[in-house]
Symmetry: C2
Subunit: 549 residues, 2 copies
């Protein structure tokens, strides 16, 4: 029997519209069309101009034969075309797959194949990928972006120039909201701990809600000026391209991070907000004071990837930067929890405050829950700051799942929670704190590195008997991989040779920064005791759940 509040009151075209962050771009153009949307060197485009360009892009994608629900990959630095891709690709109904430019070409080719990309928008800098892709994926439509240099013809055979591609599109393109807000908007590959990268699929609903959450956490005002220090290829820049549109703010683009340039942009463009990994924050905190001259306005910044150190926090405060510590993973659209500050902390010492600020915190505004659960029973652990469990999320800011990987998807969502793989505790005030990051992931300069991938590579060398890789604290990078290697009896090899070997298979940021030789500590059953290795390199994550050693 239908209820009186449902009878005749079903969803209709007038009162139910799919949530999509693409609509933020449309509203910015409608209401604040003459305000700045994108700044990059001499390029200054308003929201109206940007809206027309991205409608052209969407239309050109459609005319190129890419249909709703097909993939468009991009390999771009944080330049205007990257912002436009975040607006125009989903506007066409296609799914945006941003490739991490720090990866090796083979990994990217794997992603293009696995994601079944129909088109690739690629900066002229990345001739390697363009060339390999044109040879191995002849059906792939390649669109080249000539930013700092013209695309070389022999590396980009058959490619169409981005501006010509745009010119082929209709600036009046009548885009429509997705038929279902659960439809995919983006595909982001994450370096898993085992095997091939996994394709994390985002839905429009989650992207919309996390874009708004960013505003709510930062009390971000209309027309904020946002600097692109955080790569947009990471979790779609934590959804900030859509946040900036929702605020009718300014995207200040930045091809390559450089502390001096950042200070110049903060001064000259009036940048009010930016995000960055700890390495970005340290570089800015430790820059010469004269670079900051003439900057009097307040700047808000978000940091994730690792807790900011007390020194960096203190330094940021000194220079008038307001630091917010967030935590998340690719699967939860970037930040999905925040170490929300409390007024009562003001009375504490800097060190104590830094210690509290270093926690992963509480659920993000429009996320339903974050908690620490016993992974076996799915019961919440006691909030005593000591009971270990696994950090888990639940809510609308969780991926659809992993592309073509039902097993991994089911596993990640078992029991009605998204399992992060990170171990943590709940402190008495209800904040969560990571105690041991997913043991096999090393976060170096904001990039995830799989220790297992490095171990697999080391095992390919004929002299290696046993290999184990752990995160080693590093002042500059946060963490770097340190390899422990036990050689086969009678075998001889030095660190340099092993690194040369690794270079054949790994992107350079994944190479071990130190290799130590010797017999590895094992349990009675022969399992390597990584926590001992971590202790040897001074990692503060030298903790394990009983039975997980």
């Amino acid at each position: 029997m239908k209820h009186m509040f449902d009878e005749g009151l079903e969803r209709r075209e007038a009162n139910h519209v799919s949530l999509t962050p693409v609509d933020f771009v449309a509203r910015a153009a409608e209401v604040y069309g003459d305000r700045l949307a994108i700044v990059y060197g001499d390029v200054r485009r308003t929201w109206q101009e940007t809206y027309e360009r991205v409608k052209r892009l969407a239309s050109a994608i459609e005319r190129a034969g890419v249909t709703r629900g097909e993939t468009v990959a991009v390999l771009l630095p944080n330049i205007p075309e990257m912002v436009e891709a975040h607006y125009g690709v989903p506007m066409s109904g296609a799914v945006l797959n941003t490739l991490n430019s720090r990866l090796d070409t083979s990994s990217m080719l794997f992603m293009l194949r696995h994601g079944e990309a129909k088109a690739l928008i690629v900066d002229s800098e990345f001739g390697d990928l363009a060339h390999r892709a044109s040879l191995e994926l002849p059906e792939l439509k390649i669109i080249s972006v000539s930013d700092v240099a013209q695309a070389e013809v022999h590396r980009f055979p058959g490619a169409i120039d981005y501006e010509a591609f745009l010119a082929s599109g209709d600036p009046q393109f009548a885009w429509t909201t997705p038929p279902d807000e659960w439809d995919a908007i983006a595909l982001n590959y994450t370096s898993g701990t085992t095997g091939d990268p996994k394709g994390v699929v985002y839905h429009h609903r989650g992207a919309y809600l996390n874009a708004v959450s960013n505003i709510l956490e930062w009390d971000m005002p209309k027309h904020a000026v946002y600097l692109w220090t955080l790569p947009m290829f990471h979790c779609n820049g934590w959804c900030f391209p859509w946040t900036v549109a929702a605020r009718a703010g300014v995207n200040v683009c930045l091809r390559k991070f450089d502390a001096k340039t950042v200070y110049d942009l903060i001064r000259e463009e009036g940048v009010t907000h930016y995000c960055g990994a700890p390495i970005v924050q340290s570089a800015l905190a430790n820059a010469p004071a004269e670079w900051r001259e003439g900057i009097a306005h307040r700047v808000s910044t978000m940091v994730a990837g690792a807790a900011p150190s007390p020194t960096v926090i203190a330094r940021m405060k000194e220079i008038g930067f307001d630091l917010t510590h967030v935590y998340g993973l690719t699967e939860v659209y970037g930040p999905a929890s925040v170490c929300a500050r409390q007024d009562r902390w003001d009375a504490l010492s800097d060190d104590e405050r830094a210690r509290l600020n270093a926690r992963q915190g509480v659920r993000y505004h429009l996320q339903r829950a974050v908690s620490v659960l016993n992974p076996a029973t799915l019961e919440t652990v006691a909030n005593d700051g000591e009971s270990l469990g696994e950090i888990m999320f639940r809510g609308n800011i969780c991926m659809k799942g992993y592309l073509k990987n039902e097993r991994a998807t089911a596993e990640a969502f078992r029991g009605g929670w998204f399992h992060t793989g990170d171990l943590g505790v709940i402190t008495p005030d209800g904040y969560i704190r990571i105690k041991d990051r997913s043991k096999d992931i090393i976060i170096s300069g904001g990039e995830n590195i799989s220790s297992i991938e490095i171990e697999d590579t080391l095992y390919r060398h004929p002299a290696v008997e046993v290999a184990a890789v752990v995160a080693m604290p590093d002042e500059k990078w946060g963490e770097v991989p340190c390899a422990f290697v036990q050689l086969k009896e009678g075998a001889h090899v030095d660190a340099e040779e092993l690194i040369t070997h690794c270079r054949l298979f790994l992107a350079s940021f994944k190479l071990p920064k130190a290799i130590r030789f010797g017999k590895l500590p094992t349990t009675s059953t022969g399992k390597i005791q990584k926590f001992e290795l971590r202790a040897m390199v001074g990692s503060d994550r030298a903790i394990d759940l009983p039975g997980n050693g």
Copy 2:
């Protein structure tokens, strides 16, 4: 055939949760539990305390036998219990029906019957309704709130005291999000132009999104201090009870509006935000300067119901109040468009700026669209500031429909738009402007009055041959009803007698403030030419669509 981005990637418990503003209360308690939530005289409750009280309320409602999707009505001033009802009633799964305390008892009884209310929470001031309801609706559970006075036993027979009711509930009540975010959260009766009031049904999704839109428009920071000048019985206070929870802000309650008290609260409680009808704004703008002494902080205010006059705008600016003009109706959750200000207006004269600010503006942040369409063809009118059409909305901030009124619902939503009944134009910058409010509605002191209801009442008098009521401009109330009456041949009656007659059937705010006798102008087909009557009383809405005269 399923698409690869859907295959195995369906909604799950972990990644899809119904949007509901009730969750904002939970997060405020989780993250900012020790911060102030409600202030009222000596009453000061934190978010944790409030959360426990509203969980008790939800639990008590459930224990009283009210099940999900049934109605709980409330008749309360803007006191803490009214805020709690906005949190606790939907938390129980019930639908909140706030009654307009300015209505006559018969209208309220109609609403209780039509909405099939199972319980009524009523302030001791409203003994009339409580008494009549207890006699005529014996099944209705009555909960009495003793705020300024104890509930009189003979007027509230069988009623349970609110605090005792709360005590019967469980402060650990395990509320759940609604199974479907399309479920009803509130029922708000609107005075229609014909016949009985219509029950506008709100869904959780819309309440959630408009609560956030309020934050986005105001750039409302966390912990804002919100003063309850706007009755919560109007469109659930434009969704602001939920907005304040989403900001972990402070609800400063106010039983009765009074300009001096408002200034005292702004000073003493540090109020930063409030909303109000033009009459509220005028009262504040025209108050003696000494009442404002000691107030140095910026106060933001929203006004709707009618455009603020240039004098009020100028005065508000003078006293440092920042005025935002919004527009909407009950059917779109209160404000659903906003006259978004533009920097370029700063260069204009005060008068010109006031003229621009007086427009109904652009779509609200998370609303999909507002426009002016030809009601016959549903084509958008030209944005020339002259082509008349009907103002219409589309998006998630539109009601489910009218309760038990499929015909009116279908009519209101025909062609995929919500039809406001208000006539307007689009100015060249894309802003909408009302030219003729729904012709049969008079907005007096922020209340809607149906001219047809007054006409029907006049027709009940034996001496009346023809009656027509139009809005007459009024400095204090914005508009007041003016009646034009043509008497039957040989009949005699004076204005005083007709007013006495009207008083039998109408709430006092609906009484005509002037009655003019004489022959009424009609068209050749005998239709009364209301636009001529409007011109006679100096209404600036003396405009009609051709053929609508």
